[in-house]
Amino acid sequence: MIQQFLNAIVLGSVYTLFSLGLSLAWGVANILNLAHGALFVAGALVSYEVARDAALPLAVMLPIAALAGGLGAVVLDVLAFTPITKRIKNEAKRERAIMLASLGAAAIIVNIANVRTHYTVQRISEKVYGIKTYFFWGLHITNIAIVILVLTLVVAAGLVGWLRRSTHGRAVRAVAFNRELAPLFGINATRLSRLMLFVGGCMAGAAGLLLATELSGFDPYFGNPFMLKAFAVVIIGGIGSVGGTVIAAYALALVETYIVGYLPSGIPFDAVAFALIILVLVIRPQGIAGVVQAERA
């Protein structure tokens, strides 16, 4: 029972790290970036390529992976999202065009990854981070799981602090609250949106490296299942809400873990988990902390 709780906390951290970037880009920049999973793959891929040539430690590789994801997001914004936003004024059409563009970008990144990984699972060199399992009081946890846990807490707490206390953070919240009015207060909405896409991409890239290490490998499609979970987390948590995303991520992980751990074999685990999500949405359609969503509506 306690081991499964520990499993759920680690899984929840993974979901948080992956979902926060998607939530921020969606909530602040008003961009549903369907290439978020591909940026996650980009983080793992760049780490894999770098680690083949140089045995750098995780502390050095993490910023490299984060930068790969972050810069990937900025390139997408410069080449596609911003031009689309400038050209299409109708909000519904703009959203559809951006979704399509991000889907296309994801396909390009995944295909590059396919070629570079020779269509197969690749492992990031053990020299980057050798996995060790610690056994104590009948429980077990790996060193990479501890890194994921700590990093998630630091990132989530840092983001909350930055959004609430810093001038930039308050400006970001202003853009999320009303993108049209924000420029009247001297806020450059385009620049802040790009910053949030960069931050989200960095989180995706870092998560890609950490997950590829924890799961002993990655393939070009390993972002896809996380995208599905991230959608659930972001919608339950409330689009753009850091606190809501964190709560939803851990809640989903707990539900999934206990279903897998204790339900009789043969019951479709994911169907039960998603049935519970539907139930939550029926009871609270705006999500756990759906302030932004309510304003957007």
Partner: protein
């Protein structure tokens, strides 16, 4: 030299009576290939194609078909049923002498009927689920050159019984036709035969990424061995997390353990066993010839089972083309029908057909050890 030996071995297979005159064959024979080059099945798909291309280069360089050369026309089914359906429809409309069909069981099943209706011979490789069985009986146009897994899984259970395994738990990906069949249809009768108790059979969705909860559950059940039937890309995470949970028992699997998919699991995969139709350590003469030729052409790298299967598929078709001395699909089908009356010495060893269009081979038991498969002893 190796090429010549290989061509001789391949040419000797079940081809008695083949005439050498190739007057009926055009200078270029286009063989369509519908295979997954992207999507979830890109790994087996591209490796099957590599095997076919290697076969084509041998067929052409050894002038096996005289002045005629085989050219493969590749179509990417994207691991998607709808795309495969569209591709195969388009391929049969072009009336090729035959074509190499999708390697994914579900896609092969969907498209077999199209070839059947169009009367175009369809060479299936790797599509190993039993769903194709009705199509690979005599009188049909589908020929499967990769033996279905249930034909040689007995050797895995023989090994488990010999190593005092009394109980097992099974984990399988529910969206995989071959994996589901292995877990729910192949394993139970074999476990019964060898008096091994099945403690649990757990399906999981293909979207599952974290296996810690499942690993904890399995470790708590304390089976002597855990059987795993997942997609290749999931194997490293499953095996690593099972070992991280403290489980020290035997791990065994099915075809998805092949194709070097255990590399990512590192030392956690050491000792894991699985049966396959081909392994580089096979000693059957035609297998040795293939392995050596492949290594020579690929800087010493070992071929994968997918390479061997693709290789056999195209060479078998080349024999039929030679026998038919024509690219007319009806004549090629007649030649294929004649070939399956006998055995065939392929890269995967001696293939028999037992009065069907379906391949049977004894299989070999692999054990993963320090980054590569070795023969499992005893």
């Amino acid at each position: 030299m190796v090429l010549a030996i290989l061509a001789a071995v391949a040419a000797s297979a079940a081809t008695a009576g083949t005439k050498t005159a190739q007057a009926g064959l055009p200078s270029t024979i286009h063989i369509p290939v519908v295979m997954s080059q992207s999507g979830a099945a890109a790994l087996p798909g591209t490796q099957l194609i590599n095997g076919m291309q290697f076969a084509a280069s041998q067929i052409n360089s050894t002038k096996f078909l005289g002045k005629s050369k085989i050219v493969l026309d590749l179509n990417d089914d994207q691991s998607d049923t709808n795309v495969a359906f569209r591709d195969v429809t388009s391929v049969v409309d072009s009336k090729p002498p035959a074509f190499m069909g999708p390697g994914v069981s579900a896609l092969a099943l969907t498209t077999a009927g199209i070839a059947e209706q169009a009367h175009i011979p369809y060479i299936a490789t790797e599509a190993v689920s039993s769903g194709l069985r009705p199509y690979v009986q005599r009188g049909h146009y589908i020929y499967r050159l990769t033996p279905p897994e249930f034909n040689y899984q007995d050797i895995t259970f023989k090994y488990l019984a010999a190593h005092n395994i009394k109980s097992i738990s099974i984990l399988y990906v529910q969206e995989g036709a071959a994996q589901t069949e292995w877990a729910t249809k192949t394993v139970p009768p074999l476990a019964k035969k060898y008096k091994i108790k099945i403690l649990d059979t757990i399906p999981f969705p293909q979207t599952q990424t974290d296996f810690n909860a499942l690993a904890t559950r399995l470790a708590q059940e304390k089976p002597d061995a855990i059987g795993i039937a997942s997609f290749s890309s999931q194997n490293p995470a499953i095996i690593t997390q099972i070992r991280q949970s403290g489980y020290k028992g035997q791990l065994f699997g099915e075809g998805s353990f092949g194709g070097n998919s255990l590399v990512g699991a590192g030392s956690a995969a050491n000792g894991a066993i699985w049966a396959s139709d081909y392994a580089p350590f096979m000693t059957y003469p035609s297998s040795v010839a293939f392995t050596n030729a492949w290594r020579k052409a690929h800087s010493g790298a070992d071929p994968l089972n997918f390479n061997a299967e693709g290789f056999d598929g195209l060479w078998f078709l080349a024999h039929a083309l030679k026998r038919a001395n024509s690219v007319d699909p009806a004549k090629v089908d007649k030649a294929l029908e004649a070939l399956v009356q006998n055995y065939y010495n392929g890269a995967i060893g001696k293939i028999t057909f037992k009065r069907t269009h379906d391949a049977f081979s004894p299989g070999v038991l692999n054990m993963w050890q320090d980054g590569k498969p070795v023969r499992a002893a005893g």
